[in-house]
Symmetry: C2
Subunit: 592 residues, 2 copies
């Protein structure tokens, strides 16, 4: 094999006259009678080779046997292209290589699908993932991913963090999502589980005195996959001792800013703004608000305190709220059909309907509910929303959680339609002061919003029994462009404090022992104050690469049905393997 | 919580007079009547605190409640120690901190075992792994491990490698070791398997054009664990395209040398020497020779060509060999009992016995077989082995493989007894030119020594059918101090070449299709020439840390029975979980 001297993106007019060797794939070849042109592609770029049949008939004969995706090594002399042949779009567009020797390293059968075809089915591209890698942006995404993890590791290393691998074969913890199980052969009837996160291990590392831990950790969840989930995913996981929320946020910000700058060149303004969960919900109807645009939600309750409109009366009397946004300048372009679509979106979140009002050129309101409001209400409404002719006002009256969620959704729909979202902007935000508990109608008790090891804020301890709904947690999420990038919390490190929380959650001592015994033991032997955060790496890469799906930033993803089309996994196994594991397949259909 | 200003290794006389805050664990506390001394420990070191009850009675009363491993935060003023109180062994031994304030961050129950006790049982230390981390060298080892992976990543990144994560949920490949299986819930009756290595994925990445891939990859093997194996282990895995063996060796050496220097300060002389497999076996009786000492094995066959000694006659007539070492100066100190021990070792490798001869002060030979050899033979033997008075000659006559292995083992035993091994030396060696095939008596066919994708060397293709035993592979192992650190090979990248190898291995087209179909497909679409290597990270860290077991360099290892004593895994799971997976536990005892 000839030894490569350059990559296919490297040669310029500075190399003219040099003899070089390039290796790669035939991206395209054209026989223009007088000359054979080969576009040779490697990981870095494309270089044009030309072979002159008149001057080198044997070489030309060999070149004529090449097909798409043949693997070759070419030696030749770098020549400047005539000015009218310069390809400004290509790094090597000012030169070409006059081929003097050619080695065919491997042939290629005709491709199973057109690699350039953007409409090729997702399934065929997953089956031939290695071919998809050659042409699409996938390889570029994998490089971004590599660069991001490199920078993350560099920053955390500089900050004294130690990367520690925690086990993949661990224990099932039935709360949370469904575990993947691994039967034990040596202990028949017992099972390992794949970790949903290294949460317990990282807290144990803090008890062990590691003080600053991180891991880029593989995690697993056996869920019925929603739109863009994978059964195995990766999180940037860190934990620190002797710190408070500000310390964890500061380190995370440094890591995020350095990563963003390394792969996009963009500066993240630090510190990243913080917004309380209450504000996020009230103003943007979401705990992961997209703040690339404003269009805040307004509370209209005061305006309609004494309304004659019965629907509003009833909502307010029941403790509900009335919330509205001003879809600036959207009156004319929002047809009935468009508004009906938004209404359906609002209903998905439980809203009974979506009221809309257009501000006519004369300043009067028209639309579904205009007639129900008196002059004062109309004026106050317009003032509150700074409504001007051409604006579209959208309103939901419902219980607080429904009104927030529905208006939050409608806000996004309007922004999308109105083109308010600049895709080049990266807008980060911390959401802080999450509620500690949420009331479960189903369980008829308070459940933890995060996990039961999350610490309440200092004032919260006094309210644990009297008013759990008013207890806020030392928990924080980092949001990027309306996506939750990650979150974390300060943990409870004192066993007696942990017992108080279990009690508030209705977890008995016996249950706590059974479910978290080893962790409670550990906390009793001198656990330091600690806290941490986990960021979803796949999503972070996806957002920075502007990819449409996390599948585009994972080398070998599974389908929405958790199937690996390339390897054909999962697959059948030998009966002998099952026998060794002391398990059998239960065939439901036979049972019935 | 008071904010830490310094770590417990940082303060020196330069800080005298400063007010500082330290956080950590009570390593020890002593009440010497007049003064209370606390040794405060954090991740970085220990600092002595003193509290004067006369000056600060309330603080002293609080300090008196402290016990071992309490977590505290102390504020105080740095004072120089009187000269006679300086502790030269401690980084902070020239100062102490006069405590002015103290916060108890967490209490600790009495420790479940004496953390300083070197005889504490392995089981209790694994159960309380987080406590074991606090005192022993475990944390130091985890830091070394972090540093090593950091340097490895830096070196590979600088060399254009892209770190790509490959799936953990993949497909069972019944050849090789036993797989861990993961039942699929969505596809009842089908199973994922955890990867034994990313071998197939990394080759697919080469087909995909990644050109330089690496991963610090978690791998899994469900084996009955030998001495120092773990069911999950980590390998530094890399693969390159358009390269030959020398390129892979060069990158590996750079990575190894940089890593070694970063954690030990030692320079590795590059290039690392290479030895053929034939030489390693013949001269050192092992494919992973320990070259920290020489004591090469000698071939005595020529000397005994016409011997009258019937045992030797027979071995030579049967195509066997006679191999010997000179245990320099070991005659006097090697008792009959010692030699009997070595004989038992030789027998473990199939040898019928171990002949020994002592060179007496007068130059004559004495010992078990001296009488069988004539004067010429004795003289030739002494000359070949450069034998001098006081030397002990050890000999095995047997078939080649047995004689090599037995003498190789005896060589190590002698070196150990004679103290020839300098534990501070790091001796690397490449073993190259491995045989491609080994004859299996059991299967009555040739099997692959590495895996069936390994390329033979260029001359080997012609011998595939006529003399497979003479075919050498483009395979290489890297050895450190007699341990196999890793190995790799150049792969076959052309489908027609792969078919030739399958044929030589007696693998039919149908079998090949069934077992490696997706890989063979991939190779037919333009696979570049490629090869790679994998290093066992756990073992590498262990050797550089001078740890005795890989358990000492893994944060949360499993026992020899694959049990996690900390988490108590594997464990029982709910029947509901099994039902969802459509599997049932087969209870053997009930069946019988």
């Amino acid at each position: 094999m000839f030894k490569r001297t350059h990559h296919c993106n490297e040669l310029t007019t500075a190399n003219v006259g040099q003899t070089v060797t390039l290796c790669g794939w035939v991206n395209a070849s054209r026989n223009l009678g007088g000359l054979i042109f080969i576009d040779l592609r490697d990981r870095e770029g494309i270089t044009q080779i030309n072979i002159d049949p008149a001057a080198r008939p044997e070489l030309a004969a060999k070149a004529a046997t090449l097909h798409e995706e043949y693997v070759i090594s070419v030696t030749g002399i770098v020549r400047a292209r005539p000015e009218n042949m310069v390809n400004a779009k290509r790094a090597t567009g000012t030169i070409e290589v006059e081929g003097t020797d050619l080695e065919i390293l491997n042939a290629a059968k005709p491709m199973p699908y057109n690699l350039e075809d953007p409409t090729a089915s997702e399934d065929i591209k997953l089956k031939y993932r290695y071919l998809d890698m050659r042409r699409c942006g996938l390889l570029a995404n994998l490089r971004y991913r590599h660069k991001m993890t490199k920078v993350i590791r560099d920053v955390l290393d500089e900050n004294g963090f130690i990367e520690v691998d925690t086990p993949i074969l661990t224990k099932s913890t039935p709360e949370g999502a469904r575990d993947y199980l691994v039967p034990s052969r040596i202990k028949p009837g017992l099972f390992f589980a794949l970790p949903q996160s290294p949460q317990q291990y990282k807290q144990l590392l803090m008890v062990g005195g590691v003080e600053r831990y991180f891991q880029i950790a593989r995690c697993f969840r056996d869920e019925d996959l929603r739109a863009d989930r994978q059964p195995e995913f990766t999180q940037v996981d860190l934990e620190m001792s002797f710190v408070d929320q500000d310390d964890i946020i500061a380190v995370s910000e440094q890591m995020i800013a350095r990563t963003v700058e390394a792969v996009t060149g963009k500066k993240v303004q630090l510190p990243i703004e913080r917004m309380t969960w209450d504000t996020a919900m009230n103003k943007y109807g979401s705990d992961k608000p997209d703040l690339r645009f404003d269009m805040a939600i307004h509370d209209m309750g005061a305006i309609f305190q004494n309304t004659a409109f019965q629907a509003f009366q009833k909502v307010l009397a029941d403790g509900g709220v009335i919330r509205a946004i001003n879809a600036k300048g959207q009156a004319a372009s929002s047809s009935r059909k468009v508004i009906d679509g938004w209404t359906e979106e609002a209903k998905l979140f439980g809203a009974h309907g979506l009221l809309w009002l257009k501000v006519d050129p004369d300043g009067k309101l028209s639309g579904s509910a205009a007639k129900f409001f008196n002059e004062d209400e109309t004026a106050a409404m317009k003032a509150e929303l700074a409504a001007e002719p051409g604006d579209l006002l959208l309103m939901v009256a419902d219980k607080w959680s429904v009104a927030c969620a529905a208006m939050g959704r409608v806000r996004l729909c309007v922004a999308d339609k109105a083109g308010l979202i600049d895709p080049s902007v990266l807008r980060f935000e911390w959401i802080v002061d999450f509620p500690m508990f949420e009331w479960s109608e189903e369980d008829n008790k308070w459940n933890a919003v995060h996990h039961p090891f999350t610490a309440p804020n200092d004032e919260g301890w006094a309210l644990l029994e009297s008013d759990p709904g008013k207890v806020y947690a030392k928990a924080y999420d980092i949001i990027l462009n309306g996506c939750e990038l990650g979150g974390g919390s300060i943990r409870i490190h004192q066993p007696e404090r942990q017992a108080q929380i279990f009690k508030a959650l209705g977890i008995s001592d016996e249950q706590a022992r059974l479910r978290f015994g080893h962790l409670l033991d550990a906390f009793s032997f001198g656990a330091p104050p600690h806290g941490g955060i986990a960021l979803g790496l796949d999503r972070f890469v996806m957002l920075l690469c502007s990819a449409k799906s996390i599948r585009e930033v994972i080398a070998f993803p599974k389908t929405a049905k958790s199937f690996d089309l390339l390897m054909d996994a999962p697959d059948t196994v030998d009966k002998k393997q099952l026998d060794e594991l002391h398990i059998a397949i239960v065939n439901d259909t036979e049972d019935k």
